[in-house]
Symmetry: D2
Subunit: 398 residues, 4 copies
Amino acid sequence: VERVRRGREFVQLPGPTNIPDRVLNAMHEPARDFAAPAFVDKALSCLNDLKRVFQTTGDVFAFSSNGHGAWEVALANLFSPGDMVLIPDTGRFALSWAEMARSLDLEVVMTPTTMRHPVDAEAVAEQLERDRERRIKAVLAVQVETSTGMLHDMGALRRALDATGHPALLVVDAIASLACIDLPMDGLGIDVVIAASQKGLMLPAGLAFIAVGAKADAVSQENPAPRKYWDWRSRRGSESYMWFYGTPPTQMIGGLRVSLDMLFEEGLENVFARHRRLAGAVRAAVGRWSEAGALEFQTVPKAARSDTVTAIRMPEHDPDSLRFFCRDHLSTAFGAGLGPLQGQVLRIGHLGDLNEPMILGALAALEVAMRARGVPSAEGGVAAAVEHLARDIVRGSS
Amino acid sequence: VERVRRGREFVQLPGPTNIPDRVLNAMHEPARDFAAPAFVDKALSCLNDLKRVFQTTGDVFAFSSNGHGAWEVALANLFSPGDMVLIPDTGRFALSWAEMARSLDLEVVMTPTTMRHPVDAEAVAEQLERDRERRIKAVLAVQVETSTGMLHDMGALRRALDATGHPALLVVDAIASLACIDLPMDGLGIDVVIAASQKGLMLPAGLAFIAVGAKADAVSQENPAPRKYWDWRSRRGSESYMWFYGTPPTQMIGGLRVSLDMLFEEGLENVFARHRRLAGAVRAAVGRWSEAGALEFQTVPKAARSDTVTAIRMPEHDPDSLRFFCRDHLSTAFGAGLGPLQGQVLRIGHLGDLNEPMILGALAALEVAMRARGVPSAEGGVAAAVEHLARDIVRGSS
Amino acid sequence: VERVRRGREFVQLPGPTNIPDRVLNAMHEPARDFAAPAFVDKALSCLNDLKRVFQTTGDVFAFSSNGHGAWEVALANLFSPGDMVLIPDTGRFALSWAEMARSLDLEVVMTPTTMRHPVDAEAVAEQLERDRERRIKAVLAVQVETSTGMLHDMGALRRALDATGHPALLVVDAIASLACIDLPMDGLGIDVVIAASQKGLMLPAGLAFIAVGAKADAVSQENPAPRKYWDWRSRRGSESYMWFYGTPPTQMIGGLRVSLDMLFEEGLENVFARHRRLAGAVRAAVGRWSEAGALEFQTVPKAARSDTVTAIRMPEHDPDSLRFFCRDHLSTAFGAGLGPLQGQVLRIGHLGDLNEPMILGALAALEVAMRARGVPSAEGGVAAAVEHLARDIVRGSS
Amino acid sequence: VERVRRGREFVQLPGPTNIPDRVLNAMHEPARDFAAPAFVDKALSCLNDLKRVFQTTGDVFAFSSNGHGAWEVALANLFSPGDMVLIPDTGRFALSWAEMARSLDLEVVMTPTTMRHPVDAEAVAEQLERDRERRIKAVLAVQVETSTGMLHDMGALRRALDATGHPALLVVDAIASLACIDLPMDGLGIDVVIAASQKGLMLPAGLAFIAVGAKADAVSQENPAPRKYWDWRSRRGSESYMWFYGTPPTQMIGGLRVSLDMLFEEGLENVFARHRRLAGAVRAAVGRWSEAGALEFQTVPKAARSDTVTAIRMPEHDPDSLRFFCRDHLSTAFGAGLGPLQGQVLRIGHLGDLNEPMILGALAALEVAMRARGVPSAEGGVAAAVEHLARDIVRGSS
């Protein structure tokens, strides 16, 4: 067994994602006086520019925490112990959010999932309609469930909710989709969107974000639940330490400034198109491999396969031993199956700072591994991805 | 007015502190697979080695958050709404901690302070003795209050508490002292110590730490209060995402590994001695300047002047305009007066990755500024610091 | 046309090659006192350890210059104006070295080349045998000519020279092969080997190296030619500025220390094997593409195809427009045809800090480009590379 | 003895000088395709913008080499073996340049120096006037001799030369003064100016520069001397590898682009003024220390004390043991005495990326060392520097 690996590791996790050199360089800076104008202006510009990324005119708040912190920000500000929330069960991350809600003494109802099909908006609506007493304060929905690689249709959910006339807030977890897949928060009428730094924003883990619409902000103002670190009401003010409730993470903000610049330089529409194109290459490869029956998409409907992460079922092979083989022999890291899917799927992250040779190299490495490990008929996947990209480029140029 | 500054800015804040190049380089690394052994082993070694820094055999837990998050970790795990805590009023940071406790629906009693003298351990003990019903669950004490530059004697506090026989826990905020000033947690019988990354640990802000003794851990296990992100009970387990409850901050842990290595290479005793020596230089300078009466130490008793931060009162001058002058004309950042001391003091941070020419350069810049701004008799301070260090070196070599 | 590219560019030039993050981090250091022990010891260890890489007990000298400087080091130290040297014509780089020799008033004779077949050692020997007056002072030979991607057999050359009894020195340019392809300098009896930092040593351009055997050193000691910067006789001594004849490049030496550590950690034999394996993948792809006749290897004999660079002839296509397409649409940089091969070949560098997904990604990108640009039958190349690597791994594990 | 030092080392050498973080970050970049427009445009902009720094309309050429290489560039392009050059003896660096010239078979005449007084322009003129046969091809003069800390008046030299009517070229070594001290090349009628990257340009060592006026360029075109690496005639052309005669140092050029930006942002006049102000602080300190007689300026005339480096004579103390003490106990590196001044002086570099607290910290560290080592009356130096800067700031603001 080869121990020492050379060259750059390909990190095809659904997160953390690759950090651009420009971002890493921006973060390579000494300690700064966070009260000086240079930092204050930079932090303010980031918080303002995040509104463009969230596609909202509401406020965006930043928290020193990981993405799970973003979940708690939403729960702590909007609800009090005893409140009821409705969480469509999309898989591991919905379950974890529900577990957190219960730990915070909220009451949780869930709609069921097969984990192979997307959220049934009608079933959610029916659940709301049954809630005659209006006890359900909000629907908490995950746009892209990274454990299944599934995109759930927030527009359909919104329309179904509207049809019921139920006043529940719609709170969306866009952690695995923000700045990768279009989500017009204000356009769709979403009340709250949460996200984190280590996915489409191409930063290390360590910052959580929440975008808050007017209705949600009003709910928070009235909410008597005890809270402090997560309380977004105290995150306004004129000085930078107030925006972060303590010492600001100056290096992370330096990196965020650059990642926002990069997103705007490319153009959000082009960022979405790039994710679609590269995801198409992944789906072309997996589709070809699946023809021989050795593996299959976790997500059944084509339209629900996310542009940011793809989960592959391997009924007759151990996805984890394949992952370890890729990691130890081929310098490529893929994601494991999580929660109910542990040991059943291998996940390919394809979001963030990614381009054609990166994803092609990762797919080719996976094909090498499958051949070396005797997965039958593991052929033609990379060739299909190549074909997809060639066609896409020709189309784009014409 | 000169706009463009050249050379490295001297950051003499009480935090964030200077980040060593070795640490910044260690943090300059691509996204990693946090489930791979390379990271898992590194993170585990950090959590273990932190015990040496906290001087405890208890567990140390890490949280993606700033230092205020560390306060909330302690409060969320140990107390339930309605519980009473006793906080000696040492200044701004004690007041903020108390404000947080009240926001979390705890009941707070404080012992008074003049902000120029340290905590009166006897007064704290008397307060406990008056608590016949044992409603006070804990004493929350700040070892170094950075708003006043004052060191509070945790040993004396411990002894006074012991004398009362009161079962309250002793929870110490060592944010501005850990890895700078000796605090033998187990040796003194402290139940909980909290700290953060951006001070003596020489990292960016973004990690909070809590060291938990057996008695405090038992309290937490029984505590019914709703909590999740901060719950240290869920921070144990075999996989790295459990230790951080979500995506681990791999770059920060990379930096922490190096900062711990640096502390151990130097030796904690030598680290403490270095802080004492450099603080001595600051006190020599301030002492000389104060002879002419233009300024004075915020902390009156010599023994209570902290080795990590010094607050200078300027009754007849505006410390903020002096700070801005230093920042804009002399590339040196000092700390502002906070809370009740806003506009009254200028604070010199002297902790973390610091050496003789760094502190001498900062003191000399301040002396330049005072002369340029007409602070009378602002002379001889740097010369006194030079004299102090020369004597100290000679003594150390003999 | 897409303007903004995202993700990491794949740099598949024959040089400069990818710089490992560890090396870049080691180079990210402030100015240092080059007379202090920390640097002196590091520089000395590098010069010593380079002997292992050059496989010699002779001296290795370092020069602040690029690789062309290494050519001049050899010429300036060994020859005087009017001296004659024999240079087998292997392509562009042999021609440039010859041009340099003529510019330095040396007389140059060359043996001919078709640029598609390696040096004919017998023809070189015949040329020496015709030199009855022993005017030829040395044979200057390029081990890997990067313009053709051809490996020339230095062992065969040595044996042919030995057979003639001619006293000419053998001076080898290993710029594109050192630390990639085995070249036992002492074992083969090579007198001088030159190299540079930006290829197998995985550093930026800026350092040239020369390894000097005893016979060549003696020639240099007697050589009256005027010289100073390049004079290796003045590169000995006890102080670091002597080894570099002026201010040492401390950052480059910092990087070199790490690149040497990395080579030794992996093991030189494993480094060579890795280059062979990855080159095999390239040759598998190019071989498959060439089956349809649209392109062919520049180097005809299989045994002479270098493990570090592959040149592909494209008789009916413009390799430069294909290169630009890869660069502008696929974030992948390949090398151009040089000198006599300008506009005729596309070159794939596959040396240095490289692994499987990197080379697979680059090959796949090239296949995308060929398909998008209508190069006929450009299929199956990446699949062949995948197959090659899978077989190679299986073989290696058994 | 303390082994482990903490904090940033103060590097007060006359070179290499401190590298700004912005420059180090710009150099922290992966290997690049040097033929791609992004690099080509950057390199071209640097070569053009260097003309502003050299204050010339002539060409500026860049060489991968250290500063000694710049000397050889001038000698190799302008002279042939047997040519005579006149070098005013200003100290170690003039002597080394003369040694190089002799090694290249040039004939050297020197005018004498006491090393405590600047070049006598009249004596140089007399030497030229004695050269009836016009054998002297050029006067090679060092603007700032770093071994003595002396500024030599290039304007006076030019005028004296002009008065003789002798056709010798004037070639100036501005290695220790470019971008620190004004030198209007075209304005003064200087034919050639050489410099290097590691001083006022704030980069690592590794790039040498030469600015060439029309008369010198014409001389070079006619010069039959054999040369190649250094030949600036081959450094023109349309492709980036021609400008560097081989693989361009892309990281260094990335750094150079930023250092030029920084110089222009500050403004060259302000850069010169900053050097004058900080040098004034050094001279105030040394002047005060010298009052007690324990040390003295190497350079006697005040007007000839350079704004970039100060050499201090210590007749009764060992400057090297003081240097080692500063290095080992005070994290501050000063320069040694060189050549004829070895063991006699200590040199303070004060050029490049420097500001007030940096130089004050270094001076204070030296004062600490002198006190600790018992240098008598070593007092008041830093206080004098403080006073100087305070006055200078007040003057500048009024």
